[in-house]
C-alpha cells in the first residue's frame, strides 16, 4: 500500500485552503472556528504522512498529532466560551457586527 507522499501533501494543502476559505469568507464566529478545525486537521494529516518515513523515531509524528488534537480541544473550548460571551452581550455573533471596542 505505497502512496507517494506528494499526493497526500497536495490533498492536505487543498484541505488547508478549503479551511482557509471558510475562515476568511464566513461571517459567523462559530463558522470560523469550524473552518479553523479543518485547517488543524489538514496539518495533522501531514504529520502522520511524514512520520511514516522518518528513520530515527517514527512515533514522533504521531505524538505531535496527539498534542495538536489536545490543544485544538483547548482552543475550541476557550474560543466557544468567548463566542458565547459575545453572543450574550451583543446578541449577535456576526463578526462584522462586532465592532464596539468595549460593550
Amino acid at each position: 500500500m505505497h502512496i507517494p507522499i506528494d499526493h497526500i501533501l497536495v490533498f492536505t494543502s487543498i484541505l488547508f485552503l478549503i479551511g482557509l476559505y471558510g475562515a476568511l469568507s464566513r461571517r459567523n464566529a462559530v463558522g470560523i472556528l469550524i473552518s479553523i478545525e479543518i485547517m488543524l486537521n489538514a496539518v495533522n494529516v501531514n504529520f502522520i504522512a511524514f512520520s511514516r518515513s522518518f528513520a530515527s523515531s517514527p512515533e514522533s509524528g504521531q505524538i505531535f498529532v496527539m498534542f495538536a488534537i489536545v490543544l485544538a480541544a483547548a482552543t475550541a473550548a476557550v474560543g466557544l466560551a468567548i463566542v458565547l460571551n459575545i453572543y450574550r452581550n451583543q446578541k449577535t455573533i456576526y463578526t462584522d457586527e462586532i465592532h464596539l471596542l468595549k460593550w
Partner: protein, 166 residues
C-alpha cells in the same frame, strides 16, 4: 500489485475525495448546523485516512476526542447562538469573491513547491502501535506531556469562567 493493494489505494483516494467534498460542503453550506455535521464527516474521513496510514491509535484518538468531544462543544455552541435556525441572514461576506485571490496565490505557491521537490520516498517504517507511543510519551516526551495537561487545566478553568453567566 495484488488486488488488495489496488483496492486499498482506490479506497485511499476515494476517502481523500470524500473528505474534500465534505470539507467543501462544510465551508459553503448556509445552515450552520449542517456545516457542523459535515465537519463531523470530514473528521471521520480523516480518521479513516489514519487507519490507512497505519496510525490506528491516532485514528481512534481522533474519533474519540474530535468527533466525541470537540464536535459536541461546537454543536452546543451552534445551538446556543443560533435563534432556532433562521438561515435567512447571509452567512458570508458580500465581496467573498475577493478571497479567492490570496487563496489562489497561496495555493499556487504551495502546490508548485510540493510538486517540484523530490521527496525521498523511503520505505515506510514498521507500524507504530500504542505501546511504542506510550513508551515515547513517558520517556522522551514526558515534559511536553505534563505541560499539555497544565494547558488543558488552564483552558478548562478559563472556558468555565468566561462562559459562566453571572
Amino acid at each position: 500489485m495484488t488486488l488488495f493493494q489496488f483496492l486499498a489505494t482506490t479506497a485511499f483516494y476515494a476517502a481523500m475525495l470524500g473528505i474534500l467534498i465534505a470539507a467543501a460542503l462544510c465551508v459553503t453550506v448556509r445552515n450552520l448546523f449542517h456545516s457542523a455535521v459535515f465537519l463531523a464527516f470530514t473528521l471521520i474521513g480523516i480518521a479513516m485516512l489514519y487507519f490507512f496510514l497505519q496510525a490506528e491509535f491516532i485514528a481512534a484518538m481522533q474519533i474519540l476526542l474530535y468527533v466525541g468531544a470537540i464536535m459536541t462543544l461546537i454543536v452546543f455552541a451552534v445551538m446556543l447562538t443560533s435563534r432556532m435556525g433562521n438561515p435567512a441572514v447571509p452567512q458570508s461576506f458580500k465581496n467573498k469573491k475577493i478571497v479567492f485571490l490570496p487563496l489562489g496565490l497561496v495555493g499556487f505557491i504551495l502546490i508548485s513547491a510540493i510538486l517540484k521537490t523530490p521527496w525521498e520516498t523511503s520505505e515506510p517504517q514498521t507500524a507504530v502501535n500504542a505501546v511504542t507511543l506510550g513508551k515515547a510519551l513517558m520517556n522522551q516526551y514526558v515534559f511536553p506531556f505534563e505541560v499539555v495537561s497544565l494547558v488543558l487545566l488552564v483552558a478548562l478553568i478559563g472556558a468555565i469562567v468566561i462562559a459562566r453567566s453571572e
